[in-house]
Symmetry: C2
Subunit: 454 residues, 2 copies
């Protein structure tokens, strides 16, 4: 095995990508355009300009294969990039599998997840266009933390609407954002009309990403100096994350490896996109490769949702997008993987799934935590509950490889650590982690409320 | 400036030290031997063998300059070492100082602090000698976390006595240790005679490192398959930490720098030792260099303590050691920097301070948190409250350099991150961080109770 008998593959700093890879350039069918929730027609640039800077609107629509990473963003990437690629030797041994399992670890930066790859870029572009404040939503708190730090670097104010269930479950995430000067509000809140409307109708709601997005979008749309920033789903966010896969390819090349399977957890889709898209580039040229998005059974957007136009937010003020969706009214149960509780999915990831280019799997909460603890004890890193979905998927594939006696190469994205999720782990050890799924009735109902776009 | 205009200095994996540096070999006056608390005479090896493996007892006494790092330990070091060295450009800019500030960041490993450097070595040596379980104490939880993970790697059971104030303040640290399979007990506890004795006398005590050490030592001494592991103070622990300074020297060399000042926070002394000792090697050969240990005013061992023989633990069952001490009865106030709440100090660090080779400074809690938040906002890393003492010290030295118009080079050890200390930060932002110092009366009293040795 020689070269592959490694614990960690370290890439030289000179190899930090200088360009992001835009998978849209190579897709057989491109994602549909965003529609306006006001007019029901394709969104005009000026409509998007109320909440996004021009440069990001342009990135959202570009079909160029490579997009330059601005120098100030790249300089900040140097703080922690290239991130390490590990071979999961401990886990392989535990599973007694002939598969070789690798993981790219995005948790070594200050905010502990991949989200910083995009938040730095978004803060930079907004600053360049004279914006003073960014409003955003956060589920698990990873995106809010990442945007808080990015705003601190570029001297922007930052307002975070945090899904109520996470706000209560993760007080430390709040304090984290406070440390970087952000203001954090439990969503739904009385600060916005959207929030007030939801609270009137559902006073006991635990909130959802869809609602928090509505609040942040309204905040941005009603303040001239304020823009909105989204931590996943949109094309430009997926674009920024491709540094993950681009580095991983180089790291595997260094040890003469190429993956049979790449996997990542999938909520809005950005960390999956980040790892998988650069490998799909090869797949489009004929390389054999499986790319698998792993989601929770409690919020099974790809595996149980519908490929249709839908609102990205619950109060229907943001753009309408063609994607896999559970319906904008769908409110997932309060699983600990708060970052995967989104009713929709990236339009690009959705199109790729629809076209059979990528696969999807879903797992229930308890088996995911079983996998997380197995991983922690063998690899020494406590994973975020979101990332643990990728671990569960990788373990399943490694066990299949064992059954078949095949030395498969599996690469997954460990998108973040679980330092801020210790209450979830404590619940697990106390036997209080439940498999709480959705009600079929609720899903049926919310799928009946999709907007009619051609 | 050229070469020095960097954000981060990355060292190749091949440069991970193969040997630890033993400063004792070069000291003009060596630290005194450990005495037996039972006989009042120099401790016999067989007495120490009740709680330590032979290999570590040998390391404790060795005067060899270099000690080989065992291959299995070195392989685990590869998981995160070499750790990055950063130039604190953001902080320099904020302070508008001509000083160049660098920091070695030991928080990138799974347990978030430098402690893993020694816990892996200690678990390894104990495993080699057939031990089944390690008992230890932990203050802030960093050492307990590091030993839990190390025991998980080497398949040893792990029992952690956690100082009560930290046990209550840091529930997430407990869950962290549970994740790696350790059992965690609030100290003082009813599990040991030492704990029972303290609880009878002081039922409301918040605990101290001194008490928790007594409990862990008793646990080890009364179980044949169990040894004791200490996270700081002892010579072999300081030895294991020297990988920090050895790497830092190479990293500074890469950019043609050499420090005028090296600084680290100092509780038991191991992270200070780790950074400073390899530089002291140069100082002993005539290089000009200041090495400064930074401690809290609430537990000012070097700056206000006495250089004398004292018990290392509160219940007087562990070895007696010549060191700076506040008295084994001294119980510091419940400051958030739990890792610095130890009444004594490393015998080596103490001897060096006594001989005027190193300096010491102390700072109060509030000004330390001011510095921590300044650092977080400019450098993007939330420091552990312990490590923030080094930051405060570095800021003060950088401001002095500014006043003097001198381009000093300052290197400090950022020994760990503050992800598990967010309640402390939340207190800070709510205006609830107080400067709680010791009472002069208490100190006087506890200094009156030192044992009479020679």
């Amino acid at each position: 095995m020689g070269k592959r008998d490694v614990t960690k593959v370290v890439l030289d700093e000179k190899e930090i990508p200088k360009q992001w890879y835009n998978v849209v350039a190579d897709m057989p069918n491109r994602p549909g355009p965003h529609y306006s929730s006001r007019t029901g027609k394709p969104a005009e640039p000026q409509e998007l300009e109320a909440i996004f800077p021009k440069s990001l609107i342009q990135q959202e629509a570009t079909t160029e294969r490579w997009v330059d990473i601005p120098k100030p963003v790249r300089e900040l990437y140097h703080q922690w990039r290239p991130s390490p690629l590990y071979r999961a030797k401990g886990l392989e041994k535990l599973l007694d599998t002939p598969a070789r399992i690798y993981y790219k670890y995005e948790g070594t930066n200050a905010t502990g997840s991949h989200k910083l790859n995009s938040s730095l870029a978004q803060a930079y572009y907004n600053k360049e266009e004279g914006i003073k404040r960014l409003a955003t939503e956060t589920g698990a708190g990873q995106w809010g933390s990442a945007l808080s730090l990015a705003c601190s670097h570029f001297d922007l104010a930052c307002s975070v609407y945090m899904v109520k269930v996470s706000y209560d479950q993760k007080p430390y995430r709040r304090s984290f954002m406070h440390t970087f000067g952000a203001d954090v509000t439990a969503s739904p809140s009385n600060k916005t009309q959207c929030g007030q409307k939801i609270l009137e109708e559902f006073p006991d709601t635990t909130g959802s990403l869809g609602i928090a997005i509505s609040e942040a979008v309204e905040d941005a749309a009603t303040h001239a100096d304020t823009n909105y920033a989204l931590g996943s789903v949109l094309n430009h966010v997926c674009l920024h994350q491709t540094v993950i896969g681009l580095e991983s390819k180089k790291q595997l090349e260094m040890i003469d490896e190429y993956p049979d399977i790449v996997m990542a957890c999938c909520g809005g889709g950005s960390n999956f996109a980040g790892l998988a898209f650069p490998f799909l580039k090869d797949k489009f040229s004929g390389t054999k490769l499986r790319a698998i998005a792993v989601e929770p059974t409690a919020c099974p957007t790809l595996t149980k949702g519908k490929f249709a136009y839908d609102y990205g937010d619950s109060v229907k003020i943001g753009p309408i997008t063609k994607m896999y969706t559970l319906g904008h009214d769908f409110i997932p149960t309060g699983i600990h993987a708060g970052g995967l509780r989104y009713h929709g999915d990236s339009p690009i990831v959705s199109q790729l799934y629809h076209d059979g280019i990528i696969e999807a799997q879903s797992y229930a909460q308890k088996e995911v935590f079983d996998a997380a603890v197995k991983f922690a004890r063998t690899e020494g890193i406590i994973p975020a509950p979101e990332s643990a979905h990728a671990i569960k998927g990788a373990i399943e594939e490694a066990l299949k490889a064992k059954e078949a006696g095949e030395g498969k190469v599996i690469l997954f994205n460990l998108s973040g650590h679980g330092y801020f999720d210790m209450t979830a782990y404590e619940s697990y050890f106390s036997g209080n982690i439940e498999n709480i799924d959705y009600a079929e009735e609720d899903l049926k109902e919310s799928l009946n409320k999709l907007p009619q776009i051609d």
